[in-house]
Symmetry: C2
Subunit: 346 residues, 2 copies
């Protein structure tokens, strides 16, 4: 009898928040590997907000997951079998092997990990795609300068916490926005932000803006944008002339869906947004990190030493078992996680 594996496929496209019915947990045989391929027993998978977008059938930067297809995810695990010269059984590897206990990938598209240098989970968070996203977006499109003020939402997330910590190291004033007092405490105490504002404490964008003004007396020079919604509405009018907005997500609008998104934003109209960009000479740059993987070595060179010097903290939330991934994913979309959300698969 061949070895069995489990995976979660997309059963149907969600309307709003994904429900259990949108996912299907399947048991199947572990597949054979072909030429140049590697079989991995996944130890951890990553959960990230972008996955919500992949569940919709809307034109976006990446093709949607097809109905019946395995949900996408970054994974780390141990190589069991290899037809690729770069990998041998017992090696640890990062790959995009999806919501699954095992996966087969092309060796050329995987990356070998040294578990003695850093815990393998960091390849999914602080040293992986989220950390790289934060560092790259800040440096490339944020163009930080000492003494400036930076605001980042989802401050304790793996992207936001990287943005804030790198900016602090460069001498900026860093103000986070997070959901709940506990996360705000973490932003200041664990990640060293100058201040962090609990957006749950403010019902309207204008109230949130008042609180931001108290913490950003010189306005905002960089808004690292990954949430949209009320936070964006609060921040936009506070941007200083020549401000920069690296834009890599709008999680607050994700569950609204591709078309329904409009309904949730009475206040933030297109013309008002456009006018803000114009009158303050803002630079808004949308990006997705997969277009910039050529810069990944630069990231490791820049952030690796900061990690080694203890200047970059990270926190992980680990859900246990593939079957609990959908609930952990819903929690992520609602901000229930405190650090980088992972799922333990072994």
């Amino acid at each position: 009898m061949s070895e069995k594996m489990q995976r979660i496929t997309l059963a149907s496209r969600p309307v709003g928040e994904p429900t259990d019915e949108n996912f299907n947990l399947e048991t199947l045989d572990v597949p054979d590997i072909g030429e140049g391929e590697v079989l991995v027993r996944n130890h951890y998978m990553s959960l990230d907000p972008y996955m919500r977008g992949r569940m919709d059938d809307a034109k976006s930067y990446a093709a949607p997951v097809p109905i019946g297809g395995t949900m996408e995810a970054g994974t780390v695990g141990e190589v069991i079998a290899s037809n690729h010269p770069g990998f041998a059984p017992g090696d640890f590897a990062f790959g995009m092997l999806g919501w699954a206990t095992h996966g087969v990938g092309k060796g050329a598209e995987m990356r070998k990990l040294d578990p003695n240098l850093a815990p393998i989970t960091t390849a999914l968070g602080v040293l992986g795609m989220p950390g790289f996203t934060g560092w790259f977006g800040l440096m490339e499109f944020g163009r930080p300068k000492e003494g400036e003020t930076l605001v980042v939402a989802a401050a304790t997330g793996p992207v936001g916490s990287m943005v804030g910590q790198v900016a602090k190291n460069l001498g900026l004033r860093v103000v986070g926005i997070a959901g709940g007092a506990e996360k705000c405490k973490m932003a200041v105490e664990t990640y060293g932000f100058d201040a962090c504002i609990d957006h749950y404490a403010f019902e309207t964008a204008s109230d949130l803006r008042k609180a931001l003004k108290a913490e950003c007396p010189k306005g905002i020079d960089i808004y690292f944008e990954n949430v949209g919604g009320k936070v964006l509405d609060a921040v936009l009018p506070m941007m200083n002339p020549f401000g920069r907005i690296p834009l890599c997500g709008m999680i607050a609008w994700y569950n609204a869906g591709a078309l329904g998104a409009e309904a949730s934003a009475e206040a933030l109209t297109g013309p008002r947004m456009w006018r803000s960009i114009l009158v303050n000479f803002l630079s808004v740059n949308g990006f997705i990190i997969s277009n910039h993987f050529d810069k990944y070595p630069d990231f490791l060179r820049a952030v690796g030493p900061m990690m080694a010097q203890g200047k970059i903290a990270f926190v992980e939330d680990i859900a246990d078992g593939l079957e609990n991934a959908p609930e952990a994913f819903r929690g992520l979309l609602k901000g229930r996680n405190k650090g980088k959300q992972l799922v333990k698969l072994i």
Copy 2:
């Protein structure tokens, strides 16, 4: 009896389109000049869309014109008296002397013109602020590459016609949008655009988009944005990955006013706009040319030779007499002018 002059002041702030009641034509004595100042008999003044913004009392990149203050404008004329070593009576000079037959300016803030090099009116249009705006925005934020497709609205205006002609010279496909068949003909025949679409012929953004798609088979790489409204709504979903949007105006929304603007844009919501920027990795940069006057010599060095080689055409619309400036200004906001709108003052 001292010499008399006329000026137009802002009598009240307009709601929507400016009416005659918003302006006041005054006759007063020509003022004396102080240290470092120059008195000019204005021959021409410029009318530009940005002036509509100055009539509102909203936070913007420039202070509003105060009630009772002279309306702002760029002017060219002959120096009558000078307390500045750079200017002598009989010289021609460009200045920001406002809607007025005469004006006193600081010599340090004026520019001497050589009427033998180019007609002095060009200092208000093709070789002045509008032409410079088009060239700078295209080169700095548009980052044009041969073979790409550029779209610019207000194609026959002094900004749009410069953008299109420079882009054509760089080997881009250039598609204009203009109001009316006559302007479209002018864009193609006078300015050498590859095509021009009459936005009056399309009631909705989606119909306009269909027409654009026919002329932009490879999508749009650069949208030089100076109008907002229906055109923006049509263009945004057509932007190619890594597209660039230099943003220097939104004339379609100006008359709507700072707060009323929302009403005119049912379709183009903030989230939809933000999503377009994100999913196509767009670069949107707001700018106003007055922040970049240090690059003006570069502009003259780049465009001067193209002018001399007959590669840059320009068209001027000249209204006669200061008293006709308000009506010409309303015409400008409605797109009734065909070329750069000037007012002859002598």
